[in-house]
Amino acid sequence: MRIRRFLDVFTIVSLANSILILSVVLVSLVLVVESLPIIARDGLLPLVTSIWNPVKEEYGFLFALGGSLVTASLALVFSLALSIGSAVMYAEFLPRRFRVIVKNLMDLAASIPSVVYGLWGLKVLSPVLRTYIMEPLSELGLSQFVGRPTPAGTSIFTASILLAIMVTPLASAIIRERLLAIPSHIREALYSLGLTKVEVITLELKYIKRSILTATAVSYGRAVGETAAVAMVVGNVINLEFFKVFKPGYTISSLIADQYPNAEAYYFMKHALFYSALVMFFVSLAINIVLLKFGERV
């Protein structure tokens, strides 16, 4: 009894919290300290310029920032369409005995390492997309808007499709669970008003729009930060026209993975890459704030 009063076990437990806090603080500190030299030199310039010329120690990573945002946004659009569709299919149409299989398959898909997705994307998805989607479309005359695909098929578009495939199982699960959790009396009330199934589904989707927002933010966060899979299919080319999505490009993550190894041969490249990481830090912070404010916990 006496010992307990002197040495509250629970106070010792607070050590675990301190370790977590310390680690987050240290990570942020390292990012800030390592980016300071380039911030002091260039300020916000690297965010708005697209020159990556280590020979002259010029580092503007707009092309990679743009690439990150474009890939993630495109991936979001595709994955939202896919995940809402498949969640509705699951909750409203799929016979019960298939549900178990589909659910397990999707849950498994969500746990497959991204680098395995990357390998598959490189060897299977890229050639398929190039032959059946990107080339026909650019032949149709879209090439001045979206660029021409390269022979390998790696491009910003490919990366965003791969990302969409990767995040859909998770996003779909969030929407699916909420759809299934809609109380049956609400559904019955809607049907009793004489609405068709499609109209009911539309209303149900409106009813769970918070979950859809959550799924959106989670997908976007994953997509923006994913490295290994993207680095394998995005092409890793300094592409100033990152909006021409059939051309290969860079994302911030793949820029770091690609350029960091050689960075310390220069004075500022390392700092520039840390700066780009810091920018990613703020992007994912913003997404987290959106999630905390408006989303639901998953």
């Binding site: 010329n53 022979p151 390998a152 190894p261 050689n262 960075a263 041969a265």
Partner: protein, 397 residues
Amino acid sequence: MEHSLRSRVTKTRRLVLIVGIVLVLSTVGSLIVQKQISQTETATVNPQPESKTTSRLVYITGGGASFINPQMQAWIRVFMEKTGGTISINYQSIGSGAGEAKWLEGALDFGASDIAISKTGYEKLKESGKRFIQVPIIAGSVALVYNLPRFSEAGCTLRLTGETVADIYLGKIIRWSDPRIVELQEGRCRNFLPDAEIFGIHRSDGSGTTALFTMYLSLVSREWAERVGYGYTVTWPRDALGLGEGARGNEGVSAKVQATPNSIGYVELAYAVQLKLPVAMLRNRDGYFVYPNATTVMEALRAAAKELPGPQEFWGDLPLKHYMNREGRLSYPIVGTPAVFMYIDLPKDLADALYEFFKWVLTEGQKPENIVEGFIPLPEEMRIKALQYLELLKPRG
């Protein structure tokens, strides 16, 4: 009471599960350990005749140039088999710049680069006062590869000069039919050059290959030296015209050239050989058009070997003057010697292990059976110098 019986049953089941997992894990683990031990045992049974018997396992971490990675992995495998695993060498291809930088930081036991220690690196070394050596271990050269189907079918080989290559990548030569290119070709072949735009492909990731290639261009073209310069990563003027594009790694560049008609690119010779891409001839300093191959590369390096600086001197820009564009009828102009960097005052077992490995690399390792297809061993003159440099690694007294 009945319930306690039941809960004991579920507890037993859980116990069985845990025991099962532990068993599987420990079996795998012990198999691995056993393998290690058996390696060590064979080592003690068959001690290397010359080596000072290192009873402990020594683990060496190295990293750097991706170009030499295949050759390095092959060497490591053979060497580890020969020494029975007393020395483990881990080489990761992280790029030349990283090889130098991480070695300087002390994160690696040895660094490897397509080029020599950079000026910044050399300054850092001087500041720290640490003693080091740099030793060439293999010959390297950059080949220009191209994709001109009709031209190749006609049995022709592209001939280029340094200046035209620089002008192509500078965007000053736009089409294959440009007179500056046409006039270099053999008479019959001039008609087979297409009147099409040249698609210039280059590395997008930082690489020693790019460093070698741009060094050469800086040497032969004043305009290149002023407008672009040389380094692991440069900005490519041709890209701005929409006539150029980057690709990742030697394999990316070769794949892209292979798939894109009317394109040109540069890769390490080994990759061109392996993928059987058409390789251009370059005009050397003496005015002869030469292919990159064992003879021409070794010829160029033989000339350079005479002026190879000491192991602790600043090699810095020297490859530019001394390796590139050498005299000699048979010299190929873009060559280099990928080198490894090591500190001298290391713990004894580590120094011994490094010495043993690189000594093997510079003797047995240079024999044809240990050279990976497409790679070229060091010429004899260079090899002997390298061995001399390596001797510094042996602890004195």
